[in-house]
Symmetry: C2
Subunit: 333 residues, 2 copies
């Protein structure tokens, strides 16, 4: 993958990249809107707020693109898209409780606008709605597979909480956690998209693998962004990972490679609980090349994701999936 | 319903009442145990702790009894029993976060043994596991219906959080909230139990109604117990409802009937946030007859529940369902 193509993907932006399925995503939006009309008035006002968390709809886009690589798609795919976005938004609402975050995509989080209790219960309601929607599909594959995937996502998040502050985590264990908490839902989205479009087994497997690799790259970059982004651009509170002692790949690489005394200082800073420390942590991670190492690993996963697409028929939808993998990396710039 | 029969139900205890389905409940236990074996080690230790929250398995018992009223039952019912218990335990784990409770059935809550983050995520994992289990059943009814019921339960809980401290809540709105947050899962358990045993439509409806009425009685008594129980016997932190300004039927009745000045004092006390105030609140609610009124309403719902059983074939399982309705009330003594 050339730097030029990554930069081109960055410049065009995700919305433009997803143009081939823009019409589909609007249909997903409509399903999302229709299904989220709780009869209880106290819930409706919260749901209306949360609907605006949808963001770029990357997971539904994976369902659509993976489907359109193989066949024309319709309502079933749009519903599947709404299911994966609902699961994603439910995890976001709960994440904001865990992170005590005040802002999400430039909006107040549920926990800050209402309270933690409402945020926990609203997340539960979104999960239940996702499962109700998926279990109403004709074919049972999606509800079976996506409820299992959701369980995996939760396991990844729990492991992350438990390992918070464990600076002796191996890179392997780190990758296992981010695969579960992030990449599985990407993989699941791509898989159901392909499977419901009648793709054959090798193609379904290839797209599942694509989602897993791309999702891993996406999360590594996300962890890097927490160290180097700008709050205004990323649209969420930054530095929370470092502040909370969350272990990211740049941190692990630093601790694996830096001289003993510098490791000791870094361990101290990471454990200090001082939010201002993140600027200094960042400086050390950049200068030492640890951040660059993590970005290089992300690039490796994105390249593997691209390779998975080889068995998929060549068309504009496959090209869009390739663009997404490149875009994933461009988020670092 | 005579006082003698209520007292008899109280004396025999729920475990003895449920004896006709004791073998079934052991089978449910085994399913529960098998399905809850998460591969992630950090999650397994939490799940093993939470397995002990199962308690009396009242909801699975409703599945079994409603099934056995009509036919011999087997693995499908045992799985359904595990599904409703998983949903219930998931809501308990999240409830403990919301209530900041330290103890649950004599055990440390997840939030106190680990932390709130883990408790939120573990609850999510339990929900996802419930949906995975139900979507793997041959028939899709349960996964469709029970995911919808879960959404209703969440809506009831959110409404309760939002209306906390609203001392002008009507009795109708109060009943709507407790129906959603508690009675719907009882009703859902009874419904799937009957439906999967091939009961005809009127019988399924009767058992659904039975669950709804019995569940409403159960929750009214639960709200009363929070005011009058003993911590050691009930096995959870008491007085949290009054302390948190949660509006219960005795409180609403008091405010509807007491003289103006006494209402003003009660409103002040309920809003004080002082945990010690609950003893005084209790005194006023008992003396005024407001607690007795609430218990009378519970009795009315339990009697209606019994009446629903009229269309169900007469057998020991139907008699057990009747015993449960009586037991519900006996919890007050």
């Amino acid at each position: 993958m050339t730097d030029d193509r990554v930069r081109a993907a960055a410049a065009s932006g995700l919305k433009k990249i997803l143009k081939p399925v823009a019409e589909d995503l609007r249909a997903v939006d409509r399903v999302f809107d229709e299904i989220l009309r709780p009869p209880t008035p106290q819930v409706r006002v919260m749901v209306d707020h949360v609907k605006r968390f949808k963001g770029k709809m990357l997971r539904p886009a994976l369902v659509m693109l993976s489907g359109r690589c193989f066949a024309d798609i319709g309502e079933e795919h749009h519903r599947l898209g709404a299911v994966v976005e609902l699961i994603h938004v439910a995890t976001l609402v709960h994440d904001d409780v865990l992170d005590s975050a005040d802002m999400r995509r430039g909006l107040a989080t549920v926990s800050s606008k209402w309270d933690n209790e409402s945020a926990v219960l609203l997340g539960d309601y979104l999960f239940a709605t996702a499962f109700a929607l998926s279990s109403n599909l004709e074919d049972r594959l999606a509800s079976r597979y996506l409820s299992w995937v959701t369980g995996v996502v939760c396991q990844g998040e729990i492991a992350q909480v438990v390992e918070r502050g464990n600076l002796d985590l191996t890179e392997e264990a780190y990758l296992d956690i981010i695969e579960k908490k992030t990449a599985y839902l990407f993989a699941g989205s791509a898989r159901v998209g392909a499977e419901y479009a009648g793709a054959d087994e090798p193609a379904v497997k290839a797209l599942t693998d694509y989602g897993m690799k791309m999702g891993t790259a996406f999360q590594i970059i996300d962890d890097c962004l927490d160290l180097e982004g700008e709050e205004a651009r990323v649209g969420k509170t930054l530095g929370t990972d470092a502040g909370q002692g969350k272990v990211t790949l740049p941190v692990l690489q630093y601790l694996r490679t830096a001289p003993k005394e510098e490791c000791r200082v870094m361990r101290e800073k990471l454990g200090s609980g001082d939010p201002d420390v993140r600027y200094e942590i960042r400086g050390r991670l950049v200068e030492s090349g640890a951040l660059e190492y993590a970005q290089e690993q992300a690039r490796r996963f994105a390249t593997e994701a691209l390779r998975c697409l080889d068995v998929v028929p060549e068309n504009r939808y496959r090209e869009t999936l390739a663009e997404i993998a490149r875009y994933t990396l461009s988020r670092q710039r």
